[in-house]
Every structure is written in structure tokens, then in C-alpha cells.
């Protein structure tokens, strides 16, 4: 410990270089910390968006293939099912030039609160929704981006169906991640009947289960029920359903992560390079130290300590920087800019920060050990002769 001032003085000898090295390490550590938040962050987003007690029933052929509406009654009758709602894609456009900017679905207002307790609809709100034939519930993000509020009337043009519909907004969902608009299935059905067709299908069913341990068996039960029907079903937990929607991005995410690791790696190279430079340059000085009685081991320890201190400072700065970035995103997403919503779920935890610090220390020691070992073993007389 008494040599700490010496170590610090050595670091100050070339302040610019020390700062650059620490900054490079800080950059690498903050990158690694941010990457480490990804898996947990994505999981948080999924947990937030998906309830643990809901399953989704789709046509086995894909989202473009409708489910017969009659299936809904059969699903409701299964043991373990609390309630079930159908969602039918309407895809209304507010401004035709921009196309579909938020998803809109027709559903049954009677069961919406039972299937989606996370929407936190009070019985009065449900009654309000039910009693207005043209009532609609919209997601907060959509309401904010268009400046709509409860009581407003909006008109949407049909995308897939040749009918245009008018809605009265009766409630805005507190749910951050749903830009959806939900309205009466009957309303769409009547409009379609007036246009000469009618609605006998749905896009998907949301089914609420009484006990989450029964989800696996219920999924199998539902699929078994329709195995020999005209349209087979694909039933999975809501979380799995969301996950599979993003699975097409897996390759891109994997490549980005690989490249980021590559970047972090090259920064570590830089730090190692600098450390070895600064040790090599000081050969003469180290020889003097040894000549006046510093042992080999002490010289080695001093050099490694020096690099490690630098790496730790850099690591701490990087970890704090990453923490600052995620806190900033979190703050921004909860207050001013809810459209950043999902980004607020990435959190640098204490564990991640400690891991980052250890990684920094490890980088420092590795890049310090090799040149220091060589320097501490070099013969004193030989070095002196070379230098002077």
C-alpha cells in the first residue's frame, strides 16, 4: 500500500495516454454491460406484454388464415378455460395515404375484462363499452400520437374489408405496449352484412386459463379438439406467441451481438498494446529501481497494479456510463416519450456492473502481466548498458 503514490504518479506521467486507455476500456465495458442487459430486457418486455395465464389460438396455417368463429364456443366449453375472446383483424386506416398505422381488431366487449384483467377496465367502463354499438377502446400510444381522448369520434377506412367504420372512443388503455384499437365484433359483422357478406371467421382467440400450470395441457387439448376439422389450430402461450413473432429477427440480432463482441475485443487489444508500450519504455527506470533494491516481485506487482488501477477506473466509468444510458432511457420512456417504451426495460443491474468491473480488472491484469513479467526479469546491468 505504501507504494500506491508511486503507482499513481506513474499513471500521471503521461496523463493523455492514461486517459485514452481508460476511455477505451470504459467504452468496451459499457458496450458489454449494455449487451448483457439484452436478454433480461427482452424477457421483461415479453413478461410485461404477455400475461402468464393466457393462451393464443391461431389457424395452424398462419395468421392470414382465418379461424372458424364457431370454434370459440367449443373452446369456451373446455375445462380450465375461464373466458375466451376472438380478435378479428380489421386493419382500419385513419389516413389512407399512410396506410394502417395501428392494428385494429373486432372483439366481444362482454368478455374483454375477464380475458384481459391487465387492461384494468372497471365494470362501469365495460358497461360503457358494451352499451355503445360503435364504442372503441384504444391503446395509450395511439391516443397520444393522434391527440385523441375519451369521447372523440374517429372514422377508419377498411383495409382488408370493404367497409368504413366510425367509432366513439370510450376508454384509453393504461397498457404501454398496445397501440391497438378494439371494437364490437357485431358492429363489423352488421356492416359486412349490409355490404353483402358477413363475418363467420376470426383471426385469433385469446383464452384465459384458471391455473397457469394447466397451460401446456390446455394447448394440447385445444389442438386435439380441432385436429380432424377443416381448419387445424395452433395453440401456444401468449409469451411464446410474441416470441415467435420476433424470431425472424434472431439472425440479425445474433450478428449484431457477434460484431459488438468483436468491437469490444479489439478495444481490449488496444488497452493491452498501450500497457505493454508503457512498460517497455520504462525499461531504464525499472532497472534503476531494481538497482536500488526493489525486488523482482515488487516491481512486477507495481506494474500490474498500475495497469489494473487504470483498467478498474475505466471499467467503473464504463459501467456507470451504461447505467446512466439505461436510466436515461427508462426516465425518458416513463415520462416524456412513451414511444420509447420498450427501451426502458433494459436495466443495468448491480450484478451486471460488478461483472463489468471484474471484466475490466481481468483485462487490466492480462494486459499488464505479460510485459511486466518480461520487464521484471530483465537483467539490471544489461538494461543499464543498453540505455545509458
Amino acid at each position: 500500500m505504501k507504494f500506491l503514490p508511486l503507482v499513481l504518479a506513474n499513471l500521471r506521467r503521461s496523463p493523455l495516454r492514461s486517459v485514452l486507455t481508460a476511455a477505451a476500456i470504459a467504452l468496451a465495458i459499457s458496450l458489454v454491460c449494455l449487451l448483457r442487459t439484452m436478454p433480461a430486457g427482452l424477457e421483461t418486455i415479453l413478461d410485461y406484454a404477455a400475461s402468464g395465464t393466457r393462451v393464443v389460438v391461431l389457424n395452424k396455417a398462419g395468421f392470414d388464415y382465418p379461424l372458424p368463429y364457431a370454434y370459440l364456443q367449443k373452446v369456451r366449453a373446455l375445462p380450465g378455460v375461464v373466458s375466451a375472446a376472438s380478435w378479428t383483424w380489421y386493419g382500419g386506416m385513419f389516413e389512407v395515404e399512410k396506410g394502417v398505422t395501428f392494428p385494429s381488431f373486432a372483439t366481444e366487449p362482454e368478455v374483454i375484462a375477464e380475458v384481459f384483467p391487465d387492461f384494468k377496465l372497471t365494470p362501469e367502463k365495460v358497461e360503457l363499452f358494451r352499451s355503445h354499438r360503435d364504442g372503441a377502446i384504444i391503446g395509450r400510444a395511439t391516443a397520444q400520437s393522434y391527440g385523441w381522448k375519451v369521447g372523440d369520434r374517429i372514422a377508419l377506412k377498411g383495409d382488408l374489408y370493404p367497409v368504413d367504420l366510425e367509432f366513439l372512443i370510450v376508454e384509453i388503455l393504461p397498457h404501454d405496449l398496445s397501440p391497438i384499437l378494439l371494437f364490437h365484433r357485431e358492429y363489423l359483422d352488421q356492416a359486412l352484412q349490409a355490404a353483402g357478406s358477413g363475418l363467420s371467421t376470426a383471426s385469433l382467440f385469446y383464452v384465459r386459463v384458471d391455473d397457469r400450470s394447466r397451460i401446456a395441457s390446455l394447448c394440447a387439448d385445444i389442438d386435439a379438439l380441432f385436429r380432424n376439422s377443416g381448419a387445424q389450430t395452433l395453440t401456444e402461450s401468449e409469451k411464446q406467441y410474441f416470441k415467435s413473432m420476433f424470431s425472424a429477427l434472431d439472425a440479425f440480432v445474433a450478428i449484431t451481438i457477434a460484431v459488438t463482441v468483436l468491437v469490444a475485443l479489439c478495444i481490449v487489444f488496444i488497452a493491452a498494446n498501450t500497457a505493454s508500450l508503457s512498460v517497455r519504455e520504462r525499461a531504464g527506470e525499472l532497472a534503476v529501481l531494481k538497482a536500488i533494491g526493489f525486488g523482482r516481485r515488487l516491481v512486477f506487482t507495481l506494474l500490474v497494479t498500475e495497469v489494473s488501477v487504470l483498467a478498474l477506473v475505466g471499467g467503473a466509468a464504463g459501467a456507470l456510463g451504461a447505467l446512466g444510458i439505461t436510466l436515461g432511457l427508462h426516465g425518458a420512456s416513463t415520462s416524456m416519450m412513451p414511444q420509447l417504451g420498450p427501451l426502458g426495460s433494459f436495466v443495468v443491474t448491480r450484478v451486471i456492473m460488478v461483472q463489468g468491473l471484474f471484466l475490466a480488472l481481468f483485462i487490466g491484469m492480462i494486459s499488464g502481466i505479460v510485459p511486466s513479467y518480461g520487464a521484471s526479469r530483465r537483467g539490471v546491468a544489461e538494461t543499464m548498458r543498453e540505455i545509458f
Binding site: 486507455t21 394502417v100 450478428i255 468491437v263 488496444i270
Partner: protein, 390 residues
């Protein structure tokens, strides 16, 4: 001015020290080259899917094929508009198409939404870049499918002679087509009526592709189509439509750029440190040069030159690595699936000249940025002190 050879030799004398910096720049070039290559491959494959000689007609407001539906009457009406080229059979070249995205299992068992396009005979004349490479063209109403080159490699049963389960039916794969590496190669083509029956959707078409006759004013035909009061249609030139789809990939460039910037800053730190050490080690030499009468500018520019040499060496190594890595990825993994606006796009990773140009620019910026401060310090050394100090 100091001769160029001086910088080259100085670089060579310190090759082991320079090697690390070269290596770091090479890694940065590798990273940027691969990422930028991926994004530009995606853009190219989307842009390549459209022709300036075709119009695409969608329902007004639909942003893509998959979100559009057209009544049969719209097809019957548009066919007889003026300015449309005639096919070999004398019929107007209007290809009604129907796009659906059913699930398909990959060979490794993952579930993708794959683009299935229902077509009629006219499609093969309108999409002239399409060429059946193996097997034959599909026959109508026979439960047959032809698949894009990229699809054949990725999905279960998509090989020539295989059977694919899509939607509610099973389709026999009778041909594999190429389309100049464009996004069409990520599609499966089947008979339009059969597909409409399979989905049970009331209107059998989602878009029309129209081949313009030679010398037609595309603008006039577009106005004519959009002004028709019976249907709400929107028409655009096919190549412009796909360019717009490709523009949605621009956001990815931001991610790539951000990562490249971070890596570049890190690498510039490294270059700075290396060159500082070089300046320090060569203090006496610099003093001698100054004493001989070389100006400050000459000293500074020789250091800049040396840094540029390091950067170019790093770029050369990195470019070769990136090219090799892309070749290895293509050979081992094959196509990379990316999610574009309309379904999964299978993109073969290619590192093009433009991507390498980006990487070269970054490498040179790292070199110059890293050399600036050390070069200034070298130029500022006082000859007398420098000679004494070394």
C-alpha cells in the same frame, strides 16, 4: 518534404508495434464491412425485385402486397386501359397476384411466415427477371409450386420434387427459380385460384402488376387507374415501390453506424497511443531532422503519412477478412433471414464495394484522427532539447 520512403521505412522498422494497431483497424473494418454488407444486401435484394417498366396496383392505402385486396372487377377493368404492353398471346400483360404468408417450417424446425404468391400465366412475362433454373414452370390447377432459390435451401420439403405443406394444402415442388438475387427468390409461387381457395378469402387478388407498353407515359396511366371512381386503387412504378420498401431498412444503417463509430473511436485511441510512443522513441531522430532543416510541417506530415499507411494496411487486412467471413457465412449458414416489411426476406450476405468504401473511409478517419495529436507534438519539439533528451 520528407520523402515518402521515410514514412514507409519507419512503418516497417516498427512493424511489430504497428502490427497491433493494424490488427485493431482490421477488426473494425471487418465489423463494419460485415454489418454494412448485410444491410446493403437486404436493400439490394428488395430494390432488385422491381422493374421500372412495370406498375404495381394496390388497394388505396395498402402499404404492401400482403395488406391489400382487390376485387375481380378491378382486374377486368384495368386490363383494357391504354398503354399496356401485349403478351406473346396477344393478351394485355396484366398479372393479377395474390400474396399470403402462411407458416412454414425450416429444415431446423423453426416457424417462419413465408411469402406465397399466387400467380397466373401473365406473371412469367411481367416479371421478366425470373428464370426457372431447375425443373419446370408450374401448371395451373395441379397443386404445383415453384420456389425461389433461397427458399429451396431453407424450408422443409422445398427441394425439387419435394412436397411443401403450406396453408391447408400440400404442394408439389416442380421447379426452382432465380430472379437475379432479388427478394422474389424468397417467395413460393403457386396458382392464384388454388391459393385463393386455400385461404378462402373472398377477393382472390391482392395486387396487379402491369407491363407498360413501349413509349407509354407512366404518369398518365397511373392517373387513369387512380381516378377510376369504381375502385379505390393506387398505382406506382414497381421499382419505386420496392425502393420505398427498401428504405425501411435505412434504420438498420443507424445501428451499424453507431457501432462503427464506437469501434472507430476505440481504434483511434489505439492509433494515438501507438504513435505517441513512436514520437517519444524517435525524439532524437526528429531533433536531427529539424536540425538538418526540415520544417515542422514536413515532420507532421510524415507522421500523418505513417498513420495513413497503418490505416491502409489495416483496411487491406480487414477487407480480406470481411470477404472471407462473408464467403464462410454463405457456405456454412447459407442465407440469413431478415424481417422486411413484407414477410421474411432471405438475404445472401455479400460485402460489396460500397461497404468496403465505408470501411476505408472509417479506417482513414481512424488513421488521421489518431495521428493528429502525436504529429503535432512531433512538430512542436524544439530541436536543441530533442537532441539533448534522446
Amino acid at each position: 518534404m520528407l520523402p515518402l520512403r521515410y514514412s514507409v521505412r519507419s512503418f516497417w522498422v516498427r512493424r511489430s508495434r504497428s502490427a497491433l494497431t493494424v490488427g485493431v483497424i482490421a477488426l473494425v473494418v471487418l465489423a463494419l464491412g460485415l454489418l454494412s454488407g448485410l444491410v446493403s444486401s437486404l436493400k439490394q435484394s428488395l430494390e432488385g425485385a422491381g422493374s421500372p417498366k412495370n406498375l404495381i396496383v394496390l388497394r388505396k392505402g395498402a402499404t404492401s402486397d400482403s395488406a391489400s385486396s382487390l376485387p375481380l372487377e378491378a382486374f377486368q377493368a384495368v386490363r383494357f386501359f391504354d398503354g399496356i404492353a401485349l403478351g406473346a398471346d396477344g393478351e394485355p400483360l396484366v398479372s393479377p397476384e395474390f400474396l399470403v404468408q402462411p407458416y412454414s417450417l425450416t429444415r431446423t424446425g423453426e416457424r417462419d411466415s413465408v411469402s406465397v404468391r399466387g400467380v397466373e400465366v401473365a406473371a412469367f412475362e411481367v416479371h421478366e427477371e425470373l428464370r426457372v433454373a431447375q425443373g419446370r414452370v408450374l401448371a395451373p390447377s395441379a397443386g404445383e409450386a415453384i420456389v425461389g432459390r433461397a427458399v429451396a435451401a431453407r424450408y422443409r420439403g422445398a427441394e425439387l420434387g419435394g412436397r411443401m405443406e403450406l396453408g391447408n394444402s400440400t404442394w408439389a415442388v416442380v421447379g426452382i427459380f432465380e430472379a437475379g438475387g432479388s427478394a422474389l427468390e424468397s417467395e413460393i409461387w403457386v396458382d392464384a385460384r388454388e391459393l385463393a381457395n386455400d385461404v378462402k378469402r373472398p377477393s382472390p387478388y391482392s395486387s396487379l402488376r402491369v407491363r407498360l407498353a413501349e413509349g407509354t407515359d407512366a404518369g398518365a396511366l397511373i392517373r387513369r387507374i387512380e381516378a377510376d371512381p369504381r375502385f379505390a386503387l393506387a398505382a406506382s412504378i414497381e421499382s419505386e415501390y420496392y425502393a420505398k420498401q427498401a428504405a425501411s431498412a435505412d434504420g438498420l444503417y443507424l445501428v451499424v453506424g453507431g457501432l462503427a463509430l464506437l469501434a472507430g473511436i476505440g481504434a483511434a485511441f489505439g492509433a494515438t497511443n501507438t504513435l505517441y510512443a513512436t514520437v517519444q522513441a524517435r525524439t532524437r531522430e526528429i531533433g536531427t531532422l529539424r536540425a538538418l532543416g526540415f520544417s515542422r510541417g514536413a515532420i507532421a506530415s510524415s507522421f500523418l503519412l505513417e498513420a495513413l499507411l497503418i490505416a491502409i494496411a489495416g483496411f487491406a487486412v480487414g477487407a480480406v477478412l470481411a470477404w472471407l467471413a462473408a464467403a464462410v457465412v454463405s457456405a456454412v449458414i447459407g442465407d440469413i433471414s431478415l424481417f422486411a416489411t413484407s414477410g421474411v426476406s432471405l438475404v445472401s450476405l455479400r460485402v460489396g464495394l460500397l461497404d468496403l468504401a465505408f470501411a476505408l473511409a472509417l479506417a482513414l478517419a481512424i488513421g488521421v484522427g489518431g495521428a493528429l495529436l502525436p504529429a503535432l507534438r512531433a512538430a512542436r519539439l524544439r530541436p536543441v532539447e530533442a537532441l539533448r533528451k534522446g
